[in-house]
Amino acid sequence: MRLFWELTKISFQRHLTYRAATVAGLVTNFFFGILRAAIFVALYDLQTEVEGITLQGAITYAALGQALIGYLCMFSWFELMNTVYTGDIASDLLKPMNYFSFWMAQDLGRAAVNFLLRGIIVMIGYAFIFDLVWPRGAAQIIAVAVSLVLGWLVSFSWRFLINLTSFWTPNARGILRFFFVLSWFFSGFLMPLRFFPEWVLRISYLMPFPHMFNTVIEIYLGVLVGPEMILALLNQVLWILSLILAGQIVLRLGVRRLVILGG
């Protein structure tokens, strides 16, 4: 466990140093968030509430999406794949630490930096421009926090799993990119899932993606409350456990046939 936190700390410090990239990213986050908020204003036009989400809620959703891109690593994550292709994985597998935890510790550091430097700052920034929805009361704040952590766990265990495809094929990048694109839509990142027709919702919930993002925002916006909310949180946990289990099985199969050419 001490090793885990050490790795997290090192990763945290490493990601802290990318300051220029963070500032540039913030500018882009603001720009796209404002565009997306404008699209909601235009869609709502005279309606005040659609599917339980008010216009103010939809604008908050646009801000949250931009705030969480970095934290949830929405666009791409090829780090594990790259170590397979460079051969660094050989030494990583020899480390006196579970391979999943080894990456999880590092990703936790990355997620923490992104949450603080991009997540929080983006939300504060948007609060100056728009009238946002904020969680009310201790219970909701705790639920949002728990759901955020679970969302990251779903995201990480899923990213770990799909990166393992690089054990089998030298072309994992294309496959991973394809999966990430699917995740933008089905996680509710492009549009809150409840705005879609029923059949799209049903397909989405067959996949892990809604549990990374959509659940978090529905709890944040107060759309999911009471027993429904508890069920959603439990669902997140269930997905995390299944994804971790799948990851371990696939890893074991993969290591057996992994050929490291080195470089």
């Binding site: 404002i34 204003v41 235009a42 036009d45 694109v181």
Partner: protein, 266 residues
């Protein structure tokens, strides 16, 4: 010149075809991005009905045109894609190109050709056709000419922005993410009716970066919609001017950049 370009591109395409499975995955990926982005808007129209007065067919018209044009641009100008070009500068590949007795602009544009963008182009065309089905257009020869000019102008315009972004990396080495606001952000904006955006953004993309003339104004004319901003009647026909202006400006900046280029020493 053209023969050399053809050969440079030929090498690129053959190279990409070596990893056929990977190529088709990436092709499917780029097609899927465009399709899902459109779907995320189209599927919620049932709940909202209009986008500030615009029907889905009208929005799809903008969306299809913008996506297919950006796809074509991204395929032909990928050598100038700032994130790709920045890497070339950093690794010293660009210095190698400078040593060859060939036009440098030609070499850069021939240094990468992302065939997988065909995925985006095909979906863009599909959305455009769907738009015409939902919202029939009274075609006149002028409207047909204008539509084809719109595509060419957008390619020139965003190609110019790519060149500017690439040139900036001479000084910054890293590609700067802010450039994405103008390229991907600009393209995202013109995929939607411009009257939905806040004034300061619209003014910026009218008077400083004249993107409003690339898609929105031509669409107003082709779809017979009134102009909410009372621009002069010539506004729908300014797309080629905006495209040419951006590309000329970019090439001038590019030449200036090359003259002052000092390598990174790697």
């Amino acid at each position: 010149m053209l023969e050399i370009y053809r050969r440079l591109i030929g090498v690129q395409i053959r190279g990409q075809m070596q990893y056929r499975f990977s190529f088709f995955m990436e092709l499917a990926g780029t097609a899927l991005i465009t399709l899902l982005e459109y779907a995320s808007l189209a599927l919620v129209f049932a709940r909202f009905e209009t986008l500030k007065g615009w029907s889905l067919g009208q929005v799809a018209f903008l969306f299809g045109l913008a996506e297919l044009s950006f796809g074509i641009m991204d395929m032909f100008f990928s050598g100038f894609d700032p994130s790709f070009f920045g890497l070339q500068v950093r690794r010293g590949f660009f210095d190698q190109l400078l040593l060859r007795p060939l036009n440098i602009t030609l070499q850069v544009i021939g240094s990468e050709f992302t065939l997988r963008r065909i995925g985006k182009i095909v979906v863009g065309i599909g959305i455009f056709i769907a738009a015409l089905n939902m919202n029939p257009v009274d075609w006149t020869p002028l409207k047909i000419l204008l539509t084809s000019l719109v595509v060419v102008s957008q390619v020139a315009f965003f190609g110019g922005l790519f060149i500017i972004g690439a040139t900036i990396t001479f000084w910054t080495v890293e590609s700067i993410e802010v450039v994405n606001i103008f390229t991907y952000g600009g393209s995202y904006m013109i995929s939607h009716p411009m009257h939905i955006f806040p004034n300061f953004l619209r003014y910026f993309f009218t008077f400083i970066i004249p993107a409003i003339f690339l898609n929105y104004y031509p669409a107003l004319y082709i779809l017979d919609l009134p102009d909410p901003f009372d621009m002069p009647a010539i506004a729908p026909f300014l797309a080629p001017v905006a495209g040419l202006w951006m590309l000329t400006l970019a090439l001038a900046f590019w030449r200036f950049g090359i003259r002052h280029y000092q390598s990174t020493g790697t």
